[in-house]
Amino acid sequence: MTLKVTLFGGTGQGKTCYTLALLYMMATGIEGLRIEAQDADTATKYLNPWRDFVIGRKWPAPTMGRREDVFTLYYEDQVITEFRWVDYQGGAINVPADESDEAAQLHADIQESNAVIIVADAYTIATRAAIEAEMLTSSTYIYNLLNNYKFKPNLAGEGIGGGITIALVLTKADALPEEYKADNYDKLFQKTRQVFRGVVDFVEKERRKTSSLRPWLYPSAMLPVSIVGDGRAQVTAEGEGYALASFELVAAPEPVDVHYPFLYAIGNELDRTALTLEERVDDLEKRLEKMSRNVLKRILRGRSIRELHAERQQVAARLRELEPQIQAVAGVANKKMRPLVP
């Protein structure tokens, strides 16, 4: 099984930093979960800039183009899933697809993604006017893309597979003014919901249709994270106009909470797989029940009944195998993440 996770967000929001920190943190393992790159060269490609960051105190260069790599997520040495991770230059969001290969790729990636991780700069959200923060985080463009490729039921498909997991990563949380950190980041969440109201409204509207499963097919949550840790970076220039604030690392970095949004995305997509399997079991059971009620069919279709039984057992076995993995991944993350829609 391969899940596709696309990371996107406006330029300078912290996608590359987040990726480097996440892969570093997960390379050694957290709570039994571990990420391995497909090969050693891929691993060094991500670890080298991380080393330059930790030792050289040098932020990674702004991304040019796009980078895609395949990783494997393990739980206690069991393969949970492969996933494809894509990091973009932020500008890919706001240029037309015919003007840039990255933009065209981004559209295709979102369409194909099981989960998206939206990266938005919490410091910008907190310190700039909401309407400016919308532009700088590209929240309107993000909504536009998701709406086009994932929210419209005719495009995404009505089935269980039609939804998508949305994890909103609020980066640079270390630098937030105190009032935005108070009450477990309450003020930050309020302003974020305002800045990302397109996405929030969509999920909220779906939630109101309580009778259907559809709203639950869009698990969406957010979390403030930092790749440096509180007080370890200082603002050297405040943001103004198109310019974002600049930071300087003043102490060795200690990433905080970076793994949860990732685990949330993977965990909920594993859960979607399990949901599909459960539906299949239900369906098989119904068919079996119908068949065995009907004596004639029981006589004529003895063989296909046996086949259905075998399939049900197989699916059930796969579900049993998935269960502890989902527990390990989503169990951890769903406790930490905060709902996009309160």
Binding site: D52, G65, I160, W216, G231, N334
Partner: protein, 326 residues
């Protein structure tokens, strides 16, 4: 020789964009170059005076590009510039002859950025084709033995040089050598990840100047193993045009930055980040939500099963046999 210009960089308003590009250059070609050079993390090492240099064919063109730190910043990060010229592939041999001269005069020949004025105001355009006078250049290398060697082993081996003036002389000497049957392609001031990314796009190089290579020599194309050594010419540092000695991480002394203000103690949420939510607020997975929904919905009574009528089955069987439909 007809050439077209290429300028790839970013402004505050616009993320990395081909501000100027040859008419026949596709978005895909732009992306290949950008994504490959994205693997250079320490752009600050590459300066306008001593930039990284690349010569390679891609799509309809052969490119001669330089890559350096613009000294402009975005969110505190160094913005790089990739710029230079390109010729249609039909001009490849002419171009190859001109490359050593163009490299020696890179400061003017590859400077596209200064012709566009204020980037914040500049809208991306296609380059007009313009005539470039063809100059060949002789490069005086102190010892030509390595050229004889390279001519003989080019198919098996690559020439590896350090990213220094001496390395540049060795490389340019090879580029000026007329005995090669086809043009040499090169990447100077680069690293393994860049080379691998170009290779994925089908671009391979004959001469490579690694930023962290110490000496010069030959390496097998196949295994990457060292197959020969070459003495690097010693160049008297001509003020600023000579680059710093290879500053890989082992040589780099981490900058000790004094804390401007002591880190104030703060009541961190548990584990230094967001606190766990209480169990009642834990986010539900899709299936948990469904279970909850189902539990809340009134259970519809199952429709009563029809009583088993053995004769009905017999009647249906009979109908099947006589072939009548209901």
């Amino acid at each position: 020789m007809q050439v077209e210009a290429f300028l790839f960089t970013r402004s505050q308003r616009r993320d990395f964009t081909a501000f100027v590009r040859p008419a026949g250059m596709s978005n895909r070609d732009v992306s290949v170059i950008a994504s490959a050079l994205n693997n250079v993390n320490d752009v600050e090492r590459l300066t306008r005076a001593f930039p990284a240099l690349y010569g390679f064919p891609l799509g309809e063109y052969v490119y001669l590009l330089r890559h350096y730190d613009s000294r402009r910043r975005h969110a505190g990060r160094a913005i790089s510039v990739v710029e230079g010229i390109a010729v249609r592939a039909t001009w490849a041999r002419h171009f190859a002859l001109a490359v050593p001269y163009l490299i020696a005069h890179q400061a003017e020949a590859l400077d596209i950025a200064s012709s566009v004025g204020d980037l914040e105001l500049f809208a991306p355009t296609l380059s007009a084709a313009y005539e470039l006078p063809e100059h060949a250049a002789e490069i005086a290398v102190p010892d030509t033995a390595y050229l004889d060697d390279f001519v003989a082993r080019r198919l098996e081996d690559r020439l590896i040089v350090p990213f220094t003036s001496g390395g540049l002389i060795l490389m340019t000497g090879a580029l000026a050598e007329r005995r090669f049957l086809s043009p040499l392609y090169f990447a100077f001031g680069t690293n393994r990840d860049v080379i691998a990314a170009f290779a994925d796009a089908g671009v391979s190089f004959d001469v490579i100047g690694f930023v962290n290579a110490e000496g010069a020599g030959f390496r097998s194309r196949e295994t990457g193993e060292k197959t020969g050594e070459i003495a690097v010419p010693v160049v008297e540092p001509e003020s600023e045009s000579a680059p710093q000695p290879a500053a890989d991480l082992t040589a780099m002394r981490p900058r000790a930055v004094p804390l401007r203000a002591p880190i104030p103690p703060r009541d961190l949420p548990p584990a230094g980040g967001a606190a766990d939510v209480p169990e009642s607020e834990r986010l539900l997975t899709m299936r948990e939500a469904r279970r909850q929904m189902r539990a809340l919905q009134p259970v519809e009574p199952e429709p009563p099963r029809p009583a088993f009528d053995p004769f009905a089955a017999l009647r249906r069987l009979l109908r099947l046999i006589v072939g009548r439909r209901e």
